[in-house]
């Protein structure tokens, strides 16, 4: 594997991990506050649809992005209503949201565009373009660092950089601000927050809404960054992978970066080597496709210990029975 190849694989990994990272951070906020969220998939899907639609109609990816955030947030609010206000089962609510999104997106798509659930392809200005960072070209020839800067770091859509900025930001919010302190507390022991005179409901809603925003970014990136429009079920299970990454990362932002990068990298490698020829046998494509998942299990079992979720996670806060 020569250097350029490595750069290309890493470059691909970055693109593949970005939606996972955003969704993973979304889940992090929600679950740190004690609200489990297996509806990441659905929220991303909805965001992908709304962003693609609006981006197509208005021709502006930014308006699309707003719409994406709006779409995801709508589902977040449903999740909040069910699992916070009405203390419903958070898992059921999440499942419902996934169904709702996969149905609604196509239904609306057919109704609006009549393309069997797809949105028309976005052309030119309708998508987020790739940003070339300053001096990328001039620095390209610098050995080692040049290509890393020019090919790996430069040349992604704005949302990629946003996603990566979200990691230190999340860390800072979580561990350096009042909000973060309360957020972590409400996920560990809501009664402690309640008796300290802070509203559990408000905190959790804020967290769930932030999750919506991040899922919105993720969905918009899928539909208006990576591809040019919405295709039904286009999230293709990424929400669940993000969930896995979240647990993998033990609900910590920086580890989340690592975990999602690992998933991205494994997939990129599998893409690059679709059927490894081991001389004796060539591994069939199916197994190369499954490789990321197999390795995940191995790594999980081998190197990652027990993951303890936020203590109050999944439990609605009930004072009076």
């Amino acid at each position: 594997m020569d250097f350029p190849t490595i750069i290309q694989i890493l470059d691909s990994a970055v693109r593949l991990m970005t939606p996972l990272l955003l969704a993973c951070l979304a889940g992090l906020y929600s679950e740190r506050s004690g609200v489990f969220d297996i509806g990441l998939e659905g929220k991303m899907l909805m965001a992908a649809f709304t962003s693609a639609s609006i981006a197509f109609v208005t021709g502006s990816p930014w308006l699309g992005l707003l719409a994406g955030i709006g779409g995801a947030m709508l589902l977040s609010l449903i999740h909040g209503l069910a699992s916070i206000t009405f203390r419903g089962n958070q898992l059921i609510s999440g499942v419902a949201i996934n169904f709702l999104a996969s149905g609604m997106t196509v239904l609306l798509g057919i109704k609006i565009f009549g393309l069997g659930g797809r949105t028309p392809a976005l052309t030119g200005g309708g998508r987020f373009g790739e940003i070339t960072l300053p001096f990328a070209e001039t620095l390209r020839d610098v050995p080692l660092l040049g290509p890393i800067y020019a090919d790996l770091i430069s040349g992604h859509t704005i949302l990629v950089y946003v996603a990566f900025l979200c990691v230190p930001l999340t860390w800072w919010v979580l561990f350096r601000t009042r909000f973060g302190l309360r957020l972590r507390a409400v996920g560990e022991n809501p009664a402690s927050v309640d008796t300290a005179g802070v509203s559990v409901t408000r905190l959790r809603f804020v967290a769930v809404i932030i999750a919506g925003v991040l899922c919105g970014l993720a969905g918009a990136y899928l539909a208006t960054g990576l591809s040019a429009g919405f295709v039904k079920e286009m999230t293709a299970g990424r929400g669940f992978i993000a969930l896995a990454a979240l647990i993998f990362a033990k609900w910590r932002p920086v580890s989340a970066l690592g975990a999602t990068f690992l998933f991205g990298l494994l997939e990129a490698i599998a893409n690059r080597y679709p059927n490894l020829d081991l001389g004796v046998i060539t591994i069939p494509s199916m197994f190369m496709n499954a490789l990321p998942y197999i390795l995940t299990v191995i790594i999980l079992a081998g190197f990652v210990g027990r993951a303890i979720p936020p203590r109050a996670g999944g439990e609605p806060y009930v004072k009076e029975r």
Binding site: R178, L181, E188, N189, S192, V193, D194, A196, G197, K319
Partner: protein, 548 residues
């Protein structure tokens, strides 16, 4: 009703009361926890509240603190009517509360817990550094020393409670509510706490103290109110009442406050423990070579400040040392060696060997809170032959036993189909004790038997323990309540830092001496610190000498 009319503790000063509750009512669904409660607490006094488990004490105080909203009634602070919608309001009104089940974030540091909800500014750093200074002052002022950077789960319950008190003080509470604060404290810790309370009182702060211990009431309260079945049945000046009267007011019948028991008639050793060592998964030595015997028909009391290995000892004897712990030594039960490791070392096997166990924490270990009471009655014994009907369990049989236990132990409410969590702690405890005692084990391990339990229940549970002993069974009693230890034990061993510091006979020792041992002060006279060989071994003939 008339009870409220009997306004004892009203002082002559016409000054408005720090707290005045008028006709407070609260029900949880069908349960009326508080009914038309009146309460007046003069400023600068310590006011005791007593009552049976489930009488409504915690609820009433939680209402005052804005944790629950009352269905009806009025609250006045310093004569001003106020609606306490949430704890925020209560805190602003200068009310602080130490809940019986602490409201701390386990994996937060002390400092973080202190500032939670009382941060100044959106950034943590400044708040933390400010809190650090304030904490220093408070610590000196009230001898409330805790390491601000420890995480809560590293702290003993006693220290956790300090954190709760500091939380209140940090918020400048001048009305302080403590719900069963001494339930988890050693006598020393308790005395320390009371000195603090006296200090606060001297500063003119008002204190409400919920407790099940009449001695504490008599010692430090100015007035005391008694609750029963959700109502306030009396409020009297402490000076004008007696423990007996209070007990009767509480329970509604005469209560014998001191255990009377015949002298023990010990026989052959049932349990022989030698050089027991346990190192937990963090590599901390929890047991450093414990050795003792318990003979049939005697109660060995183990005194000690909580966190000195008693829990590990009980769990190890009970057959479930914490995960990843390494253990060594020997345990003999009725002369038979018990496995310390492997599949035959589990709790199930221990029970087969005739060891019953009332765990220290009834809510986390002793019961499945969501199971119906009758199901809990089989817990741990669910695989006993008599509960099996072919492939299935014989639930009818279990229910029958449950009814019997409820009858024998007077568990209230007398409804075996309620979930365990809907019983008060006292009654929860009765269920556990009943389960273990009715099995009539050769050896009963019993930890903190009466923690948080009302005197009616305490009297009852104590009596049953003594009866078991008189039936020729062995009992290992672990308690942080010295009174309890002294009242029940035939022999007392004191644990400190994973060792047994020495053994005493109740008749021949004093709280003072025990207190010293509990603090790790080994005395020079003829009781050396145990090196794993029980002191009395030399005068117990029938003890098989082990090869060393």
């Amino acid at each position: 009703m008339a009870a409220a009319a009997k306004q004892g503790g009203r002082p002559e000063t016409a000054a408005p009361y720090a707290i005045e509750l008028k006709r407070i009512s609260k029900s949880f669904g069908p349960v009326q926890a508080n009914k038309d409660i009146d309460l007046r607490v003069p400023r600068g006094t310590i006011h005791g509240i007593i009552g049976e488990n489930g009488a409504g004490k915690s609820t009433l105080m939680s209402i005052l603190y804005g944790f629950y909203k009352p269905d009806a009634g009025q609250i006045l602070i310093d004569g001003q009517p106020i609606t306490i919608a949430d704890s925020q309001t209560a805190i602003r009104a200068g009310i602080g509360m130490v809940f019986q089940h602490f409201k701390l974030v386990q994996n937060f540091t002390v400092l973080e817990n202190i500032i939670l909800g009382a941060e100044d500014g959106a950034l943590l750093r400044p708040s933390l550094s400010k809190a650090r200074d304030v904490l220093k002052q408070l610590a000196q002022e009230y001898q409330l020393n805790v390491d601000p950077d420890e995480t809560i789960d590293e702290l003993s319950v006693g220290h956790q409670q300090r954190v709760e008190i500091l939380k209140a003080l940090y918020r400048q509470a001048d009305i302080l509510i403590l719900d069963e604060p001494t339930g988890v404290l050693t006598p020393a810790e308790a005395d320390h706490l009371f000195r603090i309370l006296e200090g606060l009182k001297a500063e003119g702060k008002t204190i409400i103290l919920i407790t099940h211990k009449l001695r504490e009431i008599m010692d430090i309260t100015d007035n005391v109110s008694v609750m029963r079945r959700g109502q306030m049945v009396a409020s009297v000046k402490t000076a004008e009442t007696s423990p007996e009267e209070l007990a009767e007011l509480m329970v509604g019948r005469k209560v014998i406050l001191n255990v009377e028991k015949a002298p023990a008639a010990p026989q052959a050793p049932v349990l022989e423990v030698r050089d027991l060592k346990l190192v937990d998964d963090e590599g901390v030595e929890r047991l450093r070579g414990i050795g003792f015997d318990i003979r049939a028909g005697e109660i060995l009391g183990i005194a000690g400040v909580s966190g000195n290995g008693q829990t590990q000892l009980l769990e190890l004897l009970g057959g479930y040392p914490e995960k990843g712990a390494t253990v060594s030594g020997s345990i003999r039960m009725n002369g038979q060696e018990l496995d310390l490791t492997g599949t035959r070392s589990d709790a199930r096997t221990r029970r087969e060997r005739g060891i019953g166990h009332v765990p220290e924490d009834r809510q986390v270990e002793g019961l499945i809170m969501d199971f119906a009471a009758w199901e809990n009655v089989a817990f741990g014994y669910h695989d006993q032959p008599e509960y099996q009907g072919g492939l299935l369990m014989d639930n009818a049989r279990i229910k029958a036993d449950a009814e019997k236990y409820f009858e024998d132990f007077d568990v209230r409410p007398r409804n075996t189909h309620l979930a365990a969590r809907n019983f008060s702690g006292g009654n929860q405890q009765k269920i556990v004790v009943a389960r273990e005692i009715e099995r009539n084990p050769d050896l009963l391990l019993i930890g903190q038997p009466t923690r948080g339990v009302d005197i009616g229940a305490i009297e009852f549970i104590h009596r049953r323990i003594v009866e078991l002993r008189d039936a020729g069974k062995a009992v290992l009693l672990v308690s942080v309540e010295l009174d309890e230890i002294l009242a029940l034990s035939d022999r007392i061993a004191v644990m400190f830092d994973g060792r047994i510091m020495g053994e005493r006979l109740p008749a021949e020792t004093t709280t003072g001496e025990l207190g010293l041992l509990m603090a790790g002060v080994t005395d020079t006279e003829n009781h050396p610190a145990s090196d794993g060989i029980p002191p009395e071994q030399n005068h117990v003939e029938d003890l098989p000498k082990e090869p060393r």
